[in-house]
């Protein structure tokens, strides 16, 4: 409050110092926001948790790749060939969870969800192979979770296909009395940007994206609605600060907090624990995080001007944030979504920030490649902030 008084005293050279006064007022208001946040201890503790331990838990804990799919086998043959085939279903993709005597028992385990796959090897499997009769094995897959089920089936098909190809080549080689040439298209893969397909990188980064989104939307929105609810916004409006300064100071304060929290997450978890490389420029990344926070805060402030109380702003946050989090491409493959969702998501700043973040951190690309995403974020943020300003002015003046 005393600093604000100092600002008002600068009457003498108000022309020359307008900008200085303006900046000072903004600074004072920003400081006020930070002080208010500092007093909310539970919230602050939660913020720290969200950008440290919580990042670690989801980075280390979540693997969407097929992993330890529980496999049951009903082996009707018990021969060398059937054992050879079963042996090829290996970790990390499959976890052999034992044999079942009866097919029904296996299906029951699938029902209960304690197993995901049931491989059924028919009697006379070995005999058929030796006798050169074609034979098929059956696989039952729990597809209540469709993508995982499909993925498991694809791996199983690959394993059986290779088993079959090895048999064929062995057999044909044997027939011609030596190694025989066979035409074959072999697959060689080079995975870029994350050679080992280390999922901790992806998950920890996407967790930070989630957290930035939530906090950047909610912190300024809740702060503004609180002032509306308590009536302190009227007090601010009769003071020399402009509505623009009121809104901007909230965005500035929360952006600072989010940048600090992001730095905490990078320094405490991403680099030391998971070894995420920062291939591109770190300052550029933080600059982009600031831009993204600003954009998302613009959305939040707009919601706050529509809402009359915290409960309403909470509901509007849920309305806006959950599609952003689930449909912007960190939870699901963006290209596979229906066209209308992709169009709708052009409005989600997260959709652009996902490309920017992975681009800078993992691909090491810079401004020359990412400029269009940056422009989109800036435009979205500017528009939302402008709309919020317009509504805010109209409500209070």
């Amino acid at each position: 409050m005393s600093a604000k008084g100092a600002g008002v005293n600068d009457k003498d050279d108000i022309e020359a110092g307008t900008l200085r006064v303006w900046a000072l007022r903004l600074f004072v208001m920003t400081r006020k926001e930070l002080l208010q946040l500092r007093r909310d201890v539970p919230l602050l503790l939660f913020l720290i948790y969200s950008f440290s331990l919580s990042v670690y838990i989801s980075g280390a804990g979540i693997s969407m790749q097929l992993n330890n799919a529980s496999l049951l086998v009903h082996d009707g043959d018990h021969s060398a060939s059937s054992r050879e085939l079963i042996h090829r279903f290996r970790p990390p993709y499959f976890r052999f969870d034992g044999e079942v005597e009866d097919q029904k028992v296996g299906v029951q385990r699938l029902d209960q969800g304690t197993a995901m796959l049931l491989l059924d090897i028919p009697p006379r499997f070995h005999e058929s192979i030796v006798g050169r009769e074609p034979v098929s094995v059956q696989l039952q897959v729990d597809t209540t979770n469709a993508p995982q089920g499909l993925s498991a089936a694809a791996y199983a098909a690959r394993i059986v296909g290779e088993f079959s190809f090895d048999l064929a080549s062995f057999r044909l080689g044997g027939a011609s009395g030596g190694l025989m040439d066979m035409p074959r298209v072999e697959s060689a893969h080079r995975v870029w940007y994350n050679q080992n397909q280390d999922e901790t990188w992806f998950q920890s980064i996407s967790h930070i994206l989630r957290m930035i989104t939530l906090f950047a939307f909610l912190l300024p929105a809740a702060a503004l609605v609180r002032e509306k609810e308590h009536g302190t916004v009227e007090q601010l409006l009769v003071s020399p600060v402009t509505p623009f300064q009121i809104m901007l100071s909230k965005v500035l304060a929360m952006t600072l907090v989010i940048l600090a929290a992001t730095a905490l997450a990078m320094a405490s978890v991403l680099k030391p624990v998971f070894g995420v490389p920062i291939k591109g420029s770190a300052p550029l990344f933080f600059l982009m995080t600031a831009l993204y926070s600003f954009t998302t805060a613009g959305l939040g402030l707009f919601a706050a001007t529509v809402a009359r109380n915290q409960a309403q702003v909470g509901m509007m946050a849920l309305l806006g944030i959950s599609p952003m989090l689930l449909l912007s491409g960190i939870a699901t493959p963006f290209e596979a979504m229906p066209p209308w969702v992709q169009t709708l998501m052009a409005l989600s700043p997260l959709r652009y920030f996902v490309d920017v973040t992975y681009g800078i951190l993992l691909k090491g690309v810079g401004f020359d490649v990412l400029w269009d995403s940056m422009l989109a974020m800036a435009l979205l943020g500017g528009t939302m902030f402008g709309l919020g300003m317009w509504r805010f002015r109209r409500q209070f003046q």
């Binding site: 539970p42 969407m64 048999l167 035409p183 298209v185 912190l219 409960a311 989090l325 449909l327 979504m337």
Partner: protein, 384 residues
């Protein structure tokens, strides 16, 4: 416990909720809206992977080979390049997720019965997608090899096509997809979305209901009134419980009638589990509301606690069985996982009480423990 006093608290809460039109609208609209948007929009299948090709052979066989990718629904052809450096740029800009490089003398080598290596370059930023894409490529390569081999055997050994095929593929795999025969991700998503909608909206309603009174000071009316702790809590919860149960019914109807997801299980079990789950989710909201002082903190903490474990650890996107042990522990500490099991089991698997009693027991346990915690935390004589 006095029924009239409970009714009075509930009526007051109900009036406050109804008076806030926007809030009331959202409370009913939001879950239904999510269900529709995410039911249609949240597609988990890796499809339409954008890719480019670099064909160094330019033969009829290489074109035949690449055509299998171009016409597949899993891939979206984005053009052909003449230089590996161009691939670099396209991958960096996320214009493509994959590139296929066909080597020189592709046709010549294969027709001569030798093996050829085709290289695929994948964008690894999303490991799951990269991995799934890899699987698709291998499947295409394997089936192409199978055909080549059959052809080759027929040509070099003078066998009939059937005999050659039998020789080329001695063992085959038949796959049966259980519970979701067409492997539609909509079917796996929609039931779980009922859980998502209930978990994300109900705690917020409840938490704000209490903290609002704390922040505005109207809670002192309760402190000084004759209503006991238990009466206050029950009355406070009643309207939100009612809203959530109406939502359960609406969501169930959307799932069955709009998305045509079969409901094969026992409706009574489903309703019982839903009631228990709503008690759990509102209980979480109450616990948070008693730990914080400001609505701002209540809002942010509830949204994050409700959303993050629900997206990550409930089985919505990732099956709990493929989480790491540490994350599995966390999954078991929240009620979401158990309810997801019940919902998916009831809809897709047609399970009844016999196979799901454990989940129901766990939900009951959560509901009771949360109530006890709330009862312990809530005091009519706060220190400050």
């Amino acid at each position: 416990m006095n029924r009239r006093r409970i009714a009075a608290v509930a009526r007051k809460e109900w009036k406050e909720t109804v008076r806030d039109r926007l809030f009331l609208l959202m409370a009913f609209l939001l879950p239904a809206l999510w269900m529709v948007v995410f039911g249609y929009g949240l597609v988990l299948d890796v499809e339409h992977v954008p890719f480019a090709v670099l064909d160094r052979d330019q033969s009829s066989l290489s074109r035949d080979y690449l055509y299998r990718f171009i016409e597949s629904r899993y891939f979206d052809y984005r053009g052909s390049v003449s230089d590996e450096r161009e691939i670099d740029r396209l991958l960096g800009d996320t214009a493509i997720r994959m590139a296929i490089v066909v080597p020189e003398r592709f046709e010549e080598q294969l027709l001569a019965g030798r093996s050829v290596t085709v290289q695929t370059l994948l964008d690894g930023t999303f490991p799951l997608h990269a991995d799934t894409t890899k699987g698709y490529v291998i499947a295409v390569n394997n089936s192409f090899t199978q055909e080549l081999l059959t052809d080759f055997l027929a040509r070099t050994r003078g066998l009939g096509p059937d005999e050659a095929r039998r020789l080329a593929e001695p063992v085959s795999l038949e796959t049966r997809y259980l519970y979701n025969q067409e492997v539609r991700s909509t079917w796996s998503m929609v039931p779980a979305l009922i859980m998502f909608a209930l978990m994300v909206a109900s705690p917020l309603l409840t938490a704000l209901g209490v903290v609002r009174e704390k922040e505005t000071g109207s809670i002192y009316n309760i402190y000084s009134s004759t209503a006991s702790k238990a009466e206050f809590l029950v009355g406070k919860l009643a309207p939100y419980f009612a809203i959530s149960m109406i939502n359960v019914a609406v969501l169930w109807m959307i799932a069955v009638w709009l998305f045509r997801v079969p409901f094969k299980g026992n409706i009574a079990v489903f309703i019982a589990a839903s009631m228990l789950f709503v008690l759990c989710s509102t209980g979480i909201g109450l616990v948070i509301s008693l730990l914080v002082r400001t609505q701002m903190a209540a809002l942010i903490i509830t949204i994050i606690i409700a959303m993050v474990p629900t997206i990550l650890f409930s089985g919505l996107l990732v099956p709990v069985s493929s989480l790491s042990p540490g994350a599995q522990v966390q999954a078991h500490l929240f009620p979401m996982m158990y309810y997801t099991d019940v919902v998916r089991g009831s809809f897709l698997k047609g399970l009844g009480l016999k196979s799901m009693w454990m989940d129901l027991l766990a939900l009951t346990g959560f509901a009771v423990v949360l109530r006890l915690v709330v009862y312990g935390l809530f005091t009519k004589r706060p220190k400050a």
